[in-house]
């Protein structure tokens, strides 16, 4: 089994780019274009880390972890209007039906999109010699928040453009014990 330090930023970028594009294309018929990619190491101050995500406006953030010979967590940020659009499209609902269905349905749909994206990402890691399994998705909702990782994580952030909307994938991988 290769050492975790051998996981290159390129492998991570290729995996997340393929995974996110595949999920959005297959489930939603949307094209994602990778924009800015940033990374940070444990030696960077979390507050000033270049990979930190500070998104403003109402957002829904899906989080799914992977545990095994490699441990990590991926947050997927979607602004609320885009999250609503994705949910309605995926479930074949009108805006009115979505309104009646409530926030739980949107949370569940974004949780599933995150689950598929992280699943596809980590399957690539498994096949590269890092077997691991997924955790159950969780959801955060809020405005103007940022997530600061604990120390000893490698962090890479990828911003994807989808028309007027943005999807951010924030990847945190634990290194060392």
């Amino acid at each position: 089994m290769p050492a975790i330090e051998q996981i290159s930023p390129v492998l991570i970028q290729n995996n997340i780019s393929r995974a996110a594009s595949d999920v959005f294309k297959t489930m939603l018929g949307l094209e994602l274009v990778l924009g800015i990619a940033t990374s940070s190491t444990p030696s960077d101050s979390p507050r000033h880390a270049p990979g930190g995500v500070i998104e403003t406006g109402p957002h829904i953030v899906g989080a799914v972890g992977f545990v095994g010979t490699i441990n990590g967590l991926i947050y997927l940020y979607l602004d609320l209007p885009f999250a609503r659009h994705c949910t309605a499209h995926m479930l074949g609902m009108s805006d009115k039906e979505l309104e009646q269905a409530g926030d739980e349905v949107i949370n569940d749909a974004i949780g599933e999109i995150t689950n598929m994206t992280v699943g596809s990402f980590k399957n690539g890691l498994c096949d590269s010699g890092f077997p691991c399994t997924l955790t159950i998705p969780s959801i955060l909702r809020g405005s103007s928040f940022s997530i600061e990782p604990i120390s000893s994580v490698m962090r890479q952030t990828f911003r994807f453009e989808c028309g007027a909307h943005r999807v951010v994938a924030d990847i945190l991988i634990k290194i060392g014990d």
Binding site: T26, D108, G119, S120, K122, N123, L125, P131, T133
Partner: protein, 387 residues
């Protein structure tokens, strides 16, 4: 038989997508949110297939699958994994426990349906199960032939029908077409290169959307071996070249189980008009005969008691026609209906030559017949219209 599919997934989103995907098929979707609920529902409902996620709270998919396969009453239920867990080692581990198929998320609904269709005999629901389609309804027919002239000939020959006739040249185009617009009839030329007609037929029969679609083989009349091969393989009908377009139309209507009564019967004002076409071959007469009593009975039921039997388009009289006309007149008498005949000079003349038809009298036009029938009082005894 209506199949039961159990979807076990903690994501309501996935369960909704599965339900949506199978909406157009003859099956019931049962839902469970984790392995414990899944096992309980499987034991209660005995589904025909289980779609199973891996990562779930309470009891995950691997544990549920292990327990299912250890239970003698449940172990025969086929399981298809539908999960984001798709690493090679993981798939191999689960495959060893015993699954029928493995579909990694994200997934397209079409792919899910196709894979499920390989496990259970999934049938598409009819758009309008209670209403029989008729020859006046639109339908999509696709012809696969690399000779544009043949496609054009069929398109021209069926122009008078409400059917949309599409033409494609290759097996690949045919598959794409069927995926986009599942047709009502598929006509495949057996002269496509490299026997691709037979390969295409097998692909059509393995696709859930087209496995019950009638497929006709289009073949040169003298190619007996190809015709035999097509029959053995299970083609619905053989259409020989040169194409008899009337026969093709009849075969299409029969394959689609269409109500063709409108060819022979129509309600016009207060009259039921029975019309025979120019050429009354035996299949045509047999078809008209099938509808005769039901249509006349329906007319009586609807309050009509006058029938015009219009054979003015007919080119020649023969015993088959005479028998059908006798049968029509007899039925009218039994039902208490008034009737009148309309014919052309040739037919009227031929009728004079037969003992049994010599006494028949005809009007020269439909309007004249209707006008005279209109004089018959409602409820009056039936009679043959004037000599």
């Amino acid at each position: 038989m209506r199949y039961k599919i159990l979807t076990v997934d903690d994501s309501k989103t996935v369960r909704i997508i599965v339900r949506k995907a199978f909406k157009g098929y003859d099956c019931d979707i049962l839902e469970a949110g984790n392995g414990v609920e899944g096992l309980a529902l499987a034991a209660k409902e005995m589904p025909d297939l289980i779609l199973l996620d891996v990562t779930m709270p309470v009891m995950d998919g691997v544990e549920m699958l292990t327990k299912l396969k250890a239970d003698p009453t449940l172990k025969a239920i086929p399981v298809m994994m539908l999960t984001a867990e798709g690493g090679r080692d993981h798939v191999l581990k689960i495959a060893k426990i015993g699954v029928r198929d493995y579909l990694v998320k994200p997934f397209k609904e079409d792919v899910l349906i196709e894979k499920v269709g390989r496990v259970i005999d999934l049938k598409p629901l009819s758009d309008a199960p209670s209403k029989t389609k008729s020859i006046l309804d639109a339908a999509d027919i696709v012809i696969i032939d690399d000779k544009p002239a043949i496609i054009q000939q069929i398109q021209d020959g069926l122009k008078h029908t409400p059917w949309r006739v599409h033409g494609v040249a290759t097996q690949g185009e045919a598959i794409d077409f069927c995926a986009r617009t599942p047709p009502d009839i598929i006509i495949v030329s057996l002269s496509l290169p490299e026997e691709s007609a037979f390969t295409l037929f097998r692909l059509i029969r393995t696709n859930v959307k087209t496995k019950y679609t009638p497929v006709f083989a289009l073949v040169v009349k003298t190619e007996a071996q190809q015709q035999q091969q097509a029959q053995t393989l299970g083609f619905s009908a053989i259409v020989t070249k040169p194409i008899d377009l009337g026969e093709l139309e009849t075969k299409i209507a029969k394959a689609m189980n269409l109500d063709t009564s409108q060819r022979y019967f129509a309600t016009e004002g207060n009259n039921l008009v029975m019309r025979l076409p120019e050429n009354c071959s035996n299949p045509v007469l047999a078809e008209a005969a099938i509808y005769l009593k039901p249509k006349l009975s329906d007319a009586v039921d609807a309050g009509l008691n006058k029938v015009v039997i219009d054979i003015h388009q007919l080119k020649a009289l023969h015993m088959g026609v005479i028998k059908l006309l006798f049968s029509a007149m007899q039925t009218c008498r039994e039902l208490g209906m008034h009737f009148a005949l309309v014919g052309n000079a040739q037919i009227i003349s031929e009728c004079k030559g037969f003992e049994d038809t010599r006494g028949w009298t005809f009007y020269e036009s439909l309007d004249e017949a209707k006008a005279n029938l209109g004089k018959a009082p409602a409820g009056a005894a039936p009679q043959l219209a004037p000599a």
